[in-house]
């Protein structure tokens, strides 16, 4: 009975798939007018050579604001879920006397290969992340992608260097504040247009010259804000996860 059901179901699914696939338009064909219109107007109107960024951060900037705040709220939710209860903290400090018995103790010392590779990677990722954020309007990429790349720099520092160095380059308060301020900056920039008498998130900043860094007005500034927000969000998420291990490492180093 079961075999019959699964065979009939699979056969039905296969038939539907073949029927659907045979009716597909030819590969690469595009019947909608919207894309064609954008392709011919975006460069002239907004000086943005990456039309995808022009759509995301200008023509449909409101949708991207929603996306940014989805990320913001998820990070806040994760931080809330994984927060340390006051009592537990007290316990772990008492237990720290017997270091050997702590869960996840005695991490092997970082190998030289990881250290060298991590240090070499930091400068490269910072530069690449900044490039990705600042050139979102001219080439593929932008704040979201560049922000995640930027966030991997503190992670490689955490893996390669001392825990104290990680805390120095990414102090918790600074990360938290810059994430929140960058997220708010998106709305503020949108409201600036309203104050000037235009609609919310209208491109009001000077457009500049196409194919140059800082061109396309709002698209550049919004990418910058989103980049900082995403980088901050990811570092915050990481530090929430690794907080206990970080504290353990800090205690060991201070001995």
């Amino acid at each position: 009975m079961r075999t019959f059901l699964i065979t009939a179901g699979a056969a039905g699914l296969a038939a539907l798939l073949v029927w659907g696939l045979s009716g597909l338009p030819p590969f690469g064909s595009y019947p909608g007018p919207y894309g064609e219109v954008l392709n011919s107007f975006a460069v002239g109107e907004r000086k943005a050579t990456d039309v995808v960024s022009a759509v995301n951060f200008d023509y449909r900037a409101f949708d991207t604001m929603g996306e940014e705040f989805i990320l913001f709220i998820s990070v806040a939710g994760a931080a809330l879920l994984l927060r340390k209860v006051e009592e537990e903290e007290h316990d772990s400090q008492e237990e720290s006397e017997s270091e050997d018995r702590q869960p996840g103790r005695a991490a092997p010392p970082t190998s030289d290969a990881i250290r060298a590779f991590g240090v070499a990677l930091v400068g490269l990722t910072v530069l690449f992340g900044l490039y990705m954020i600042s050139h979102g309007q001219t080439t593929p990429g932008g704040g979201f992608q560049g922000g995640v790349i930027l966030a991997t720099a503190p992670l490689s520092v955490y893996l390669a260097a001392e825990a104290r160095t990680f805390q120095r380059i990414a102090p918790h308060d600074l990360v938290e504040w810059s994430e929140s301020i960058a997220a708010a900056a998106y709305v503020v920039l949108g409201l600036a247009a309203v104050v000037g008498g235009a609609e919310f998130l209208r491109n009001v900043t000077p457009l500049g010259e196409e194919e140059k860094m800082g061109s396309s007005g709002n698209i550049f500034w919004l990418n910058l804000g989103v980049g900082v927000e995403v980088a901050g969000g990811f570092v915050l998420l990481l530090s929430v996860f690794i907080r206990e291990a970080l504290e353990r490492r800090l205690r060991r180093e201070s001995k």
């Binding site: 994984l82 996840g104 991997t152």
Partner: protein, 90 residues
């Protein structure tokens, strides 16, 4: 579709099957990272470099990283609980 796109398409299907068939969550996080990378390649070959970049950073890096961190957190909690149980028995 060219032969390259077809090949990568089949690779996506194969690695997706690999992710589903992997039983151990730790190995699965590596498998899903590879799947994300291949999927990004597919996006790139279909002229969507923006989406491919997002796919690399989210699908191949951020998602497996979050899975790994969550696994290590669960592992640490399990050990803590085990220790507490042993202490109670003493």
């Amino acid at each position: 579709m060219g032969w390259l796109q077809t090949g990568v398409f089949l690779l996506v299907a194969a690695s997706a099957l690999g992710v589903v068939r992997t039983k151990d969550p730790l190995a699965q996080s590596v498998a899903v990272s590879f799947y994300g990378l291949v999927l990004a390649l597919l996006f790139f070959l279909h002229q969507a470099p923006d989406v491919a970049l997002s796919q690399i950073v989210v699908g191949a890096v951020a998602l497996p990283l979050m899975i790994l961190l969550a696994l290590s957190k669960i592992h640490a909690q399990d050990e803590e609980r085990k220790q507490a149980g042993e202490e109670e028995r003493k």
